[in-house]
């Protein structure tokens, strides 16, 4: 069956160019980059190249790039590093719509480690309450962590403005840019964040590789303790193949950025317009403008997300409801709840997230499949006629 893949915020296809770049490093150039022989050294050189490519992608210096095993590790590492840098500070700040890699970690720190946590709320459009954020900054604040783009709705936070204000108070600022990478331009020098997380598998590199950018001069303490890899900032033999792949993926992401903002955005807008037109009682979640160009979160009243997804699945269409991480839970996504999306449409919210591989044709397939699916489910819903 033809697959229509519109779940790119969950994960992406590894690009052919990336596979090609990686392949020789499995069975042919498999040396350990730390080794005292040319065979390992050539891998080390290739990793240096990859580090430079990743640095270029976000306008950082290569030695500001630490390779990690995923976005989650980057996020965890950033927060723990900040807490170690300021052991006397016991207050930390984030939003109430973060990915579990930050949200669950903050909850853990609150419940088990005695930290005072401010979860800054968002409004109905998913935009951050900046007044509350700035009011909560204090001398006791160790770190502020806010996502650049929301994985479920695509809503963007004004990271550059926030970074300036937070830095002015001498407080560390981290941003989870896992969903922003490859979709909006990132320039760390301009934005001035202290730390920034990326994940490879959201930008057509493999799963299981991440990046933590740490600004020069920001005190850092390692999360994984072991060998001297990553200049002593992360123990563990380097994931050479994936690092090399990520380097190439970053180059490609830069190339494709204009396409994201034009063709992909048009596709998303086309899909959005058609669905709103054809399906009554449907509504877009999140601000329409301050939003990633590839993401559409749309709620359908009186029906439930899993059922919709399974009907789409039968037509080969891949999408998601809430984040790919919510499993077994009956609660609708914490992001939509934070935005006070009514239960009626929150439960029936579907996220379509596109990439440059998508076509208009595919958008039409989605519309044709979704219209009867929603109809069918509404027919059996006790809440539809109300």
């Amino acid at each position: 069956m033809r697959i229509v893949y519109t779940d790119n915020n969950a994960t992406t296809k590894v690009a052919d160019e990336v596979i090609e770049e990686m392949l020789p490093y499995f069975g042919q150039f498999y040396g350990n980059p730390s080794s005292m022989h040319t065979f390992g050294d050539q891998v080390d050189k290739k990793i240096k190249q990859a580090r430079q490519r990743v640095a270029n992608f976000i306008n950082a210096d290569p030695n500001e790039i630490i390779f990690t095993s995923c976005g989650t590790e980057s996020d965890n590492c950033a927060i723990y590093s900040a807490l170690n840098a300021f052991p006397e500070k016991k207050h930390i700040i984030t939003s109430n719509v973060e990915h579990p890699a930050i949200n669950k970690l903050y909850q853990h720190l609150q419940k088990k480690k005695g930290y005072e946590v401010t979860f800054v709320p968002v409004d109905k459009k998913g935009l951050l309450n900046l007044d509350l954020l700035y009011d909560s900054l204090s001398d006791n604040t160790a770190i502020v962590s806010l996502m650049w783009a929301n994985n479920e709705t695509g809503v963007l936070f004004p990271i550059e403005d926030i970074a300036k204000k937070v830095n002015k108070k001498g407080i560390l600022f981290h941003t989870d840019a896992v969903q922003a990478g490859g979709k909006v331009p990132i320039d760390v020098k301009q934005v001035g964040v202290d730390m920034l997380s990326l994940s490879g598998h959201k930008i057509h590199a493999p799963k299981g590789i991440g990046v933590l950018y740490v600004k020069k001069g920001v005190k850092f303490s390692p999360f994984l303790i072991g060998g001297h890899q990553e200049e002593g900032r992360r123990g563990g033999t380097e994931n050479t193949v994936s690092i090399i792949g990520l380097g190439r993926a970053c180059e490609l992401a830069t190339e494709h950025l204009p396409v994201m903002n034009t063709r992909v955005r048009e596709l998303r807008d086309y899909l959005q317009t058609r669905l709103l037109e054809k399906i009554p009682c449907s509504s877009v979640n999140g601000d329409l403008d301050l939003r990633l160009p590839n993401t559409l979160s749309i709620g359908f009243d009186a029906v439930e997300g899993e059922s919709i997804l399974l009907l789409l699945d039968r037509e080969g269409i891949c999408a998601s409801s809430g984040s790919a991480c919510t499993s077994g839970s009956l609660d609708p996504s914490h992001v939509l709840m934070a935005m006070e999306v009514p239960f009626k449409s929150a439960h029936g919210s579907i996220r379509f997230s596109l990439s440059h591989y998508n076509t208009k044709d595919e958008m039409d397939i989605i519309v044709s499949a979704l219209v009867p699916a929603i109809e069918k489910l509404r027919e059996m819903s006790p809440f539809w006629k109300d």
Binding site: A302, V303, E304, E306, S307, L310, R314, S327, G328, S329, L330, D331, P332, F343, K344, H347, E379, M380, S381, P382, F383
Partner: protein, 187 residues
């Protein structure tokens, strides 16, 4: 993703007995919009207390739909006495099993049926007291506290053995552990 049996898939894609039932003389409702799962069961019961027709309307996931559909198929033709013995396991068995994360869907079916029967007989069912802890098996905190005290239960596994609670999706295990510990703390 869930491993749904072919039976579940079939009942989800082609649900039997969907819709409001004209002339229904017993209705049972359970769940709510906020829960993400809701079922409205309609029965037509004849003078011999035999269920001559049954339909449903469901809001929820695939297994909620399939469980509802299965339930109506199972109970059609039964007397109310027979139907009142139907458990969530019967529904799940009929479907060839449900993923453990989805056991609560069959519990929902059992609960709607109980309410419909009570509705017919004019009995009022009291809401269980306490706060819901295990949605999969419909177990409240008060029930858990009682069981822990009465049987000196030590671990979440003990609680699951006694009450089933926690033996489904596992979402409630942390809460169960908290309850055990608070009981222990109070001695």
């Amino acid at each position: 993703m869930w491993d749904y049996t072919d039976k579940v898939k079939d009942h989800f894609l082609k649900p039997r007995n969907v819709g409001e039932l004209e002339g229904a003389n017993a209705v049972g409702e359970t769940g709510s919009l906020s829960c993400g799962d809701a079922l409205k069961l309609f029965l037509k019961v004849d003078e011999n207390e035999k269920i001559v027709d049954a339909t449903f309307m469901t809001f929820g996931c695939a297994s909620a739909v399939a469980s509802s559909s299965a339930l109506t198929e199972i109970i059609k033709g039964m007397t109310l006495d027979e139907a009142s013995k139907i458990t969530n396991d019967d529904i799940s068995d009929y479907l060839g099993g449900l993923p453990k994360e989805k056991m609560h869907c069959s519990v929902m079916g059992q609960s709607a049926l109980k309410k419909a029967i009570a509705d017919y007989r004019g009995i009022q069912i009291l809401e269980k007291p306490g706060e819901m802890v295990c949605e999969c098996f419909d177990v409240t905190d008060l029930e858990i506290i009682e069981a822990v005290k009465a049987n000196s239960l030590e671990t979440t596994e003990d609680v699951t053995d006694y009450l089933k609670a926690g033996g489904g999706c596992g979402q409630c295990l942390e809460r169960i552990e908290e309850i055990i510990e608070s009981v222990k703390a109070k001695g």
